[in-house]
Structure formats: structure tokens, C-alpha cells
Symmetry: C2
Subunit: 143 residues, 2 copies
DNA sequence: TTGTGATTGTTCGCAGCACGAAGTAATTTG
DNA sequence: CAAATTACTTCGTGCTGCGAACAATCACAA
């Protein structure tokens, strides 16, 4: 009797689940997945294109378009970097920041809900292990 | 001293990580993410468009194109349903099945590797909880 | 100081994804 | 048999992500 789903299988399914939630919440905030991811990365500071593309695991050329569209929607601005005239820093606008918070709060709630039915001890252990596993991953989402 | 990353944050980061792995392995097998997901859903049986779109959480119209492209690449075929002349069943071709296995094996290995450094007990507990959390999610990936 | 080479970001063309509205054909239901 | 339902497709739109090619700027070394 196999009630132990393989680890890989569990990871993939969880990912699928979270991904769909992510998209759904994004949708409710009028954000695409890529936009939401970008806003999350910008929550606490402005970031240059090169670094940002590294964080998001995107080619620089892909990021250009993403920032273009987000800028057109007023979520984000390109600021000149005074240190380097080639460079640009992407920063949240007030509107972008507001959208981010709406998104973040709603998503956090929905995700917490996902674990709600677990017994507290199990949930804590799970969360802790989770923290370990993603320890060295980029901070695409902050608390 | 916060060494406990929030649960939501952990979930999002894990998802990001797995997603990138998924894409990378897909790439190595010459599969897009969407194609790989579809092949995984077809691993053990042929499925009609309506049901498949439900499994993958896609609109039917989106699925049409996905199947079109996969069919052009010889990964999949549309078979007539003898019971219902409107309906179609999507089935793996031998090439599709081969690609799926390559993808599945490689991804499983990479994902297991992700948990490899955890102590065995912790890993088992984690996997078990994982199974619970995704219990009612669609089987987008089998063991 | 003047190359030379690296880095920053952009443009372009391309294939693919996902949606919703509208449409066709076959099936079911009343 | 007519009407409602279901299965799938078509079309148009916007978004995504890649790689190749390119301009501007910077850093460093001769």
C-alpha cells in the first residue's frame, strides 16, 4: 500500500498547485505572473537590469520587454544610475507598490490556507524543512 | 532571530526553484513546459480534450494549439473516439512516450537531488506531508 | 591617453502560450 | 423533432522568452 507519493512527484504537484494559485491571484490584481514576480523582487530596493535578470532567471533581452510593459502600466520606472551612464535601475512606482502589496497579502493568505489543515506540529516541521531546501534560492518572495 | 521563513514565502521560492528545474530539463529534452506537462498527463492513458484541459487548468482553446504543435512535432496524435464523433482522444506517440520518459527520469533525479542533503528522517517526514498537501491536486506527475 | 575588452542595456525576429468570443458539428434531452 | 448541451476549432490579441546583433559606456593596461 503506497501512501507515500514519491518526493519528486509531490514536488511537481505542489509546484503546479502553487503556480495556479499564483496566476489566479495575479489575475485578480491585474498582474501577469512575470510581472508579479518582478514586483516581488523589487519590493525593498531598486535593481539594475542585469542583476534583476539574474534574480528572475531571464535573459536580459526578455527582461527589457517585461519592464517595458510594466512601465507602460505605470507599475515600474527606469531610473538613471548616476554611477554608470549605461545602467538603469528599475524601481517600483507607488502604483506598483500598491499592486504588489495587494498581491502579496492575498497570495500569502491563500498559501497559508493550503497548509491550514495540517496539525500544527507537522506544519511547523514542514515549513522549517521548506526553509532549508530553499535556503540558497533567490528571494523571489519576502515575508 | 528569524530563521523561520514564512510558510508562504517558502512555498513560493520552492515553486520558483522547481519551475526553473522543470524548464531546464524540458529544454534538454526539447520540450516546452506546457508540452512536458501535457505528456505527463498522458502517460498512462489517452484523454479527450475537455478532460485534458481540466487536468492542465487550461481553456479548451489554449489546448487546441498546444496539441497542434505537439502533434506537428510527432509527440502526440489525435484519435477519433468511436463512441462520440465530436470527440477526440489525445494519445502519446512512441516518440512522445520516449521523450516523456527521458524527461521524467531526468527531472526525478534532479528533484530528488534537491532533498538529498536533508537527514533521512526529515526528508521522509517532508515527503509525507507533501503527499498530504497535494492529495487532492490533479496528478500532473506520476511516480 | 588611447586602445582593447568587458559590461549594460536595447532591438529585432521568432516560436510559443493563454485567453475569450464566436462558430461548427454531433449528441442529448424534453 | 426542436432546443439545449457538449466537444472541439478558429481567430485575434497581448504576453513570454530566446538568441543574435548592436550601441554606449566603463575599466584597465600599455
Amino acid at each position: 500500500m503506497k501512501d507515500t507519493l514519491g518526493a519528486a512527484s509531490g514536488l511537481v504537484r505542489l509546484t503546479f498547485l502553487v503556480q495556479n494559485l499564483y496566476a489566479e491571484v495575479g489575475r485578480a490584481c491585474d498582474l501577469t505572473v512575470a510581472q508579479a514576480q518582478m514586483l516581488c523582487s523589487l519590493s525593498d530596493r531598486s535593481i539594475g537590469m542585469a542583476e534583476l535578470s539574474g534574480l528572475l532567471c531571464l535573459e536580459r533581452s526578455s527582461l527589457t520587454g517585461l519592464v517595458d510593459r510594466a512601465q507602460q502600466r505605470g507599475l515600474v520606472v527606469r531610473e538613471d544610475d548616476p554611477q554608470d551612464r549605461r545602467a538603469v535601475k528599475v524601481a517600483l512606482t507607488p502604483a506598483g507598490s500598491a499592486a504588489l502589496h495587494r498581491f502579496h497579502d492575498e497570495l500569502t493568505e491563500r498559501l497559508d490556507h493550503l497548509l491550514q489543515e495540517l496539525p500544527a506540529t507537522e506544519r511547523d516541521r514542514f515549513t522549517q524543512t521548506l526553509g532549508r531546501v530553499v535556503a540558497d534560492a533567490p528571494a523571489v518572495f519576502a515575508d
